[in-house]
């Protein structure tokens, strides 16, 4: 069981890193967007210029592989239950790395969703 816990924590660390990098790319893209071209083209044009996109994709892949390893090592529902910690990780990381604000509604909502996922996982 402890092996599953460690693997899930590593997986969630990478998945959170990936999401933060994607959001940083999105913010930078937002600052450069013009109305002249389709949005997807403007994103594709920047694929080579935004290192955060590549770091994000690599972190996502590392996270998914570790997630598969976690699924292979432990009980499935236990792993899903632990995985709900991602929402708390992302809330904290987006506060520190993206300067996103946390208010009561966001905090309560995130905790309710985490609790709800734990309930669906144990049943």
């Amino acid at each position: 069981m402890n092996k599953a816990l460690i693997l899930v924590l590593i997986a969630e660390f990478w998945l959170t890193t990936g999401q933060i990098c994607f959001k940083k790319s999105a913010n930078r893209l937002n600052a450069e967007l013009t109305g002249h071209k389709p949005w997807v083209i403007q994103l594709l044009e920047r694929v080579f210029r935004f290192p955060t996109l590549w770091i994000g994709a690599a972190a996502m892949m590392a996270g998914l592989l570790t997630w598969f390893a976690a699924l292979a090592s432990g009980q499935l529902s236990y792993v899903y239950l632990l995985g709900s910690i991602q929402y708390i990780f992302v809330l904290i990381a987006s506060y520190f790395f993206l300067n996103e604000k946390i208010d009561n509604a966001k905090l309560i909502g995130t905790l309710l969703i985490t609790l709800g996922i734990i309930l669906t996982a144990i049943s």
Binding site: N30, L71, E100, A105, K106, T110, I113, L115
Partner: protein, 139 residues
């Protein structure tokens, strides 16, 4: 041009994008599950061997699911250019609502009462987060 506004509620358009994102995600996961046929791989290496065993025709469902999953990246980036990550990600958990419902209808699985309670909690969490007053929305 970047224009950030403070809002009291999530714009409907962005919310619908997230719902679409969840639906695509659920479809991809169901396809991958149909392709793999089991939940619990014995080990990562045997799992990888299994995925590349193309004499098993069901495995194409897995690869189709993975392709759908990957293409969803563009929609996710679109969402991230519109709202905070700490709003988008919890809302994207609606897969936890669609998957049990889809499992009931398409895979004929049973859903326990405690799981329905979990779904109610998730829905109320989504309600709270959509009403978060500190979210930044870019238009």
């Amino acid at each position: 041009m970047e224009k950030i506004i403070k809002i009291n509620q999530l714009p409907l358009k962005v919310f619908l994008f997230i719902v679409l994102n969840d639906l695509i995600d659920t479809t991809a996961q169901l396809l991958m599950k149909k392709g793999v046929g089991f939940d619990d791989p014995n080990s990562v290496t045997s799992f990888i061997h299994f995925l590349f065993n193309f004499s098993n025709h069901n495995i194409f469902y897995f690869w189709l699911g993975l392709a759908v999953y990957t293409s969803n990246f563009f929609l996710w980036m679109k969402i991230l250019t519109k709202i905070d990550l700490s709003v988008a990600l919890p809302l994207a958990c609606a897969g936890y609502i669609f998957i049990p419902i889809a499992s009931v209808f398409f895979l004929h699985e049973h859903v326990m009462p405690l799981r329905w309670l979990g779904l109610v909690l998730i829905l109320s969490g989504i309600y709270f987060i959509s009403n978060s007053k500190s979210s930044q929305v870019t238009t």
